[in-house]
């Protein structure tokens, strides 16, 4: 099924006899559910773009590439840097705005500017009864009524099918530099990243690879802005990080950060891929428990990507911790999403039952 309009979609949902599997471009098959495929790909197109107001509004099926090209022409960008899952998951197809929003997809810059959800200004969606609902709008400051925009972000289509999303965008930067430290242990690396992130020098990327391209540990920071400012901040950070070793500086190193964003290091390696959100300073200890094949730290340590043998339940290895783990690639005898505590599960299930009383929208995908 591929609705051509919001009304069309509403009728399809009303007429559905069983579960629906909602997709945008089908590039992020995280979690599992059965059902008739319903694609938002035809709800495509940018309906409004005001560079001076830093806002763009587009249909849920609009390819992210189209949005990024449109923004680039005005020297602007999606600052939260949405990950492209195709490399890691081996999927084909076109990543869409709706899929990105429904999965709250961000990249390395999330550590400084916020997540996809922080840039979502408004949504239109159709709930499980076919009702067309709007929330938020296209202005940056809006506290009118409840913020269902956030609720829809990261709800993986289980509360409604997005038809339109409006986003805040930001200016592009003049230039970028990457600072590298070599040979640090995981613990030292997270300490170095914390020192930089807790400074006034505004790092917009903070990652650590226990095994970099040459097999040795590499710890990376990204700074962005006007050239003079980058030079100044690079010097300051070099001085600040001196206790951790010598800091190399490379200019205009976009490919490095795309690779971190897309976790390309795990792309051709067999095994399950887990995404773990944790308190940065706790990350090295958690990683030590994982016995993973490979690990990548992003968000200053707050985001751990772990490659592990198929079938292993990394949640069991992690035990109780402040955070959550999602199985992004592969199968295991455990749910893809982290089980919720009972009091929260009551709220979550209650909300799902309200928005989708028949339980037909991506049923079971988040459990």
């Amino acid at each position: 099924m591929q609705p051509k309009s919001e009304e069309d979609l509403s009728q399809m949902i009303i007429g559905a006899n069983g579960p629906l599997r909602i997709t945008g471009g089908g590039t992020r098959p995280i979690g599992h559910c059965d059902g008739d495929a319903l694609s938002t790909a035809a709800l495509s197109g940018i309906s409004l773009y005001e560079p001076g107001a830093l806002t763009i509004v587009a249909g849920a099926g609009t390819p992210i590439a189209e949005i990024e090209e449109t923004l680039a022409a005005e020297n602007q960008r999606l600052a939260f840097e949405p990950m492209d899952h195709r490399v890691l998951l081996g999927t084909k197809g076109t990543p869409t705005l709706g899929g990105m929003a429904a999965a709250n997809v961000s990249g390395p810059r999330r550590i400084s500017v916020g997540a996809c959800r922080d840039f979502m200004l408004g949504v239109r969606f159709v709930d499980g009864q076919g009702t067309i609902i709007k929330n938020g709008g296209r202005v940056m400051k809006n506290v009118t009524g409840y913020d269902l925009v956030k609720l829809m972000a990261g709800s993986y289509g289980t509360l409604g099918v997005l038809t339109e999303v409006s986003l805040k965008v930001l200016p592009n930067v003049e230039t970028t530099a990457t600072l590298r430290l070599h040979g640090l242990t995981d613990r030292q690396a997270v300490q170095a990243l914390s020192a930089a992130l807790g400074s006034p020098f505004e790092a917009t990327g903070a990652a650590h690879l226990p095994k970099g391209a040459d097999g040795d540990p590499v710890t990376m920071l990204r700074i962005e802005g006007f050239e003079a400012s980058i030079k100044y901040r690079a010097e300051k950070l070099q001085a600040l990080l001196k206790p951790f070793g010598t800091v190399d500086v490379a200019w205009d190193d976009a490919a490095t950060w795309t690779a971190i964003r897309d976790v390309t290091a795990f792309a051709d390696q067999p095994g399950n891929v887990w995404r773990i959100s944790a308190k940065p300073s706790a990350a090295p200890e958690l990683v030590a428990k994982l016995d993973a094949t490979a690990v990548q730290y992003d968000w200053g340590g707050g985001l751990i990507w772990a490659l592990a043998d198929e079938g292993r339940d990394l949640r069991a290895a992690l035990g109780d911790f402040e955070g959550h783990a999602t199985l992004v690639r592969g199968h295991a005898e455990v749910p893809a999403f982290h089980p919720e505590l009972p009091a929260l599960a009551t709220l979550t299930n209650g909300l799902r039952a309200k928005f989708d009383p028949r339980g037909i929208l991506n049923p079971g995908i988040m459990t």
């Binding site: 107001a53 609902i133 709008g137 506290v143 913020d147 914390s194 402040e322 959550h324």
Partner: protein, 477 residues
């Protein structure tokens, strides 16, 4: 402003309710004397007053849970209250309600600079959160202008913003986790020191729910290192359209100032008479502030000054030092006080797309003549959040009503051009009955469905946010 008929049965049971609450709270934490409850009869929307049945001031999450469990059991409405600084009537009591104030809960629970967060009890004031970390060079970014007094609890309830949110975002973008008590006394923990709480984004919908979903007792807040410095420029223009274009050009040039403030002529005149900041008399005044090291600030201000100069400013003044910076901000920061000196005023809070600025200002000017009431405009121009100040005389019969009618027309205009009713103050009772202008019935139904799950009996702050006739079947059930 209409409020629901208080429940006679609840008011009759006052003694029983107070006795039950006194069982779980220290004696000085239950306020039931009719003279003392007057302290809670209103918030900063002082035009409306109603003393509550009683007020309680719990000291812990456990006590909040006990209070809510008892009120739930006895069917007593509860109105949560931070510091009572809401301009929208978010903490206005009803005669049959228990005011639950979090003012006693103001401890810092944990400060963590490595992971860049602070955990506080939510009765703590916004400014004292920064106060707890600024000695170490850190700050909490959202800065509502009431930050000296307003509590984090209220900031979370209203998703408060501030002058610097163009760069740092509003409360929801800086809130990492909460401990919240539901109306039945259940305590839930959502999010924490990690980014992106798991499961559905409940944190996102709790922030800005105006105390209708639960009482947040503890919060994990993101803290940042302070920038090395900040400096403003001031520029004046002959018309607001040109000023709007300057804002657009600055943003399009790839500069992201931390603040872009706008004032119109009535506001400049009032401010000059009051604060003598040395502002130029013109149609539109902009204050643009950037942050960074001295060299970074110089570089950004150079670009901004070039853009500003291209549009023939009547004045262009760069702050060379802290003293000059202070003088540039002086007028803006005294604006509300200056307007208050002239008259009573009502402060509106609609947001518009930045591109509609000239049209909206023109229409407000025309409406000002139609209604016979003066308006001054102060404006967070970078994000489109307007604060029209309508002047009226509270002692003149009918003037408040006329002012409210005028305010409603301005907010309808904001929605018409693609904006919204409220950018940072919240709906409360003030904009409750205008919600139908912005939302279709299905949109409001979806929002109320969320409250059904968190507070099925609709006991928490139920007379706010939604038009009374829309929420009536739920409140009556």
């Amino acid at each position: 402003m209409q409020m629901p008929q208080p429940s006679a049965s609840v008011i009759r049971r006052k003694d029983q309710i107070v006795a039950r609450l006194s069982e779980v709270l220290p004696r000085d934490a239950v306020i039931s004397d009719e003279h003392e409850t007057r302290a809670y009869e209103c918030d900063a929307l002082t035009a409306y007053k109603c003393p509550p049945l009683c007020a309680v001031l719990p000291s812990s999450t456990k006590e909040v849970s006990d209070v809510l469990r008892i009120c739930h059991e006895l069917g007593v409405p509860v109105v949560p209250r931070g510091s009572g600084t809401s301009l929208a009537g978010g903490a206005l009591p009803t005669a049959d309600c228990v005011i639950l104030g979090v003012a006693k809960m103001n401890d810092v629970i944990e400060t963590n600079y490595d992971d860049r967060y602070i955990r506080v009890q939510t009765g703590r004031t916004n400014l004292s959160v920064t106060g707890a970390v600024e000695g170490d060079g850190f700050f909490y970014a959202p800065d509502p202008s009431s930050q000296l007094a307003c509590a984090i609890a209220g900031n979370i309830a209203m998703n408060s913003g501030g002058a610097h949110c163009l760069k740092y975002g509003v409360t929801t973008n800086n809130l990492m986790g909460v401990t919240m008590v539901l109306m039945d006394g259940t305590v839930v923990e959502i999010g924490g020191a990690h980014l992106d709480a798991g499961g559905l984004d409940l944190l996102g919908v709790i922030c800005g729910s105006e105390g209708q979903l639960g009482v947040v007792t503890e919060a994990t807040l993101r803290i940042l290192h302070k920038p090395e410095g900040a400096r403003p420029v001031l520029m004046g223009y002959d018309n607001s359209e040109v000023a709007g274009q300057v804002v657009t050009d600055i943003i399009k040039a790839g500069i992201l100032p931390v603040a872009i403030e706008f004032m119109d002529r009535p506001c400049i005149e009032a401010t000059e008479a009051f604060a003598k900041a040395g502002y130029p008399m013109c149609e539109a005044l902009l204050i643009v502030e950037v942050e960074g090291s001295d060299a970074e600030i110089d570089a950004q201000l150079k670009l901004i000054m070039e853009i500003a100069a291209k549009h023939n400013p009547v004045e262009l003044r760069e702050a060379k030092d802290a003293d000059e910076a202070g003088r540039i901000w002086l007028g803006r920061k005294s604006a509300f006080g200056a307007m208050g000196q002239i008259n009573d005023y009502m402060c509106l809070d609609g947001t518009i797309p930045v591109s509609s600025l000239p049209f909206v200002l023109k229409r407000i000017g025309e409406m000002s003549k139609e209604f016979g009431l003066d308006v001054g405009n102060v404006f967070h121009a970078g994000d489109g959040n307007m604060h029209p100040l309508i002047l009226f005389d509270a002692n003149k019969p009918g003037d408040l009503e006329l002012c409210e009618e005028f305010g409603a027309e301005i907010l309808k205009l904001c929605v018409e051009v693609g904006g919204c009713l409220t950018g940072e103050h919240g709906v409360g009772i003030e904009k409750r009955d205008l919600m139908n202008v912005q939302f279709a019935p299905a949109d409001l139904e979806a929002q109320m469905a969320v409250k059904d799950i968190f507070d099925p009996a609709w006991l928490l702050n139920a007379a706010k946010v939604f038009p009374l006739d829309t929420s009536q079947p739920r409140r009556a059930a």
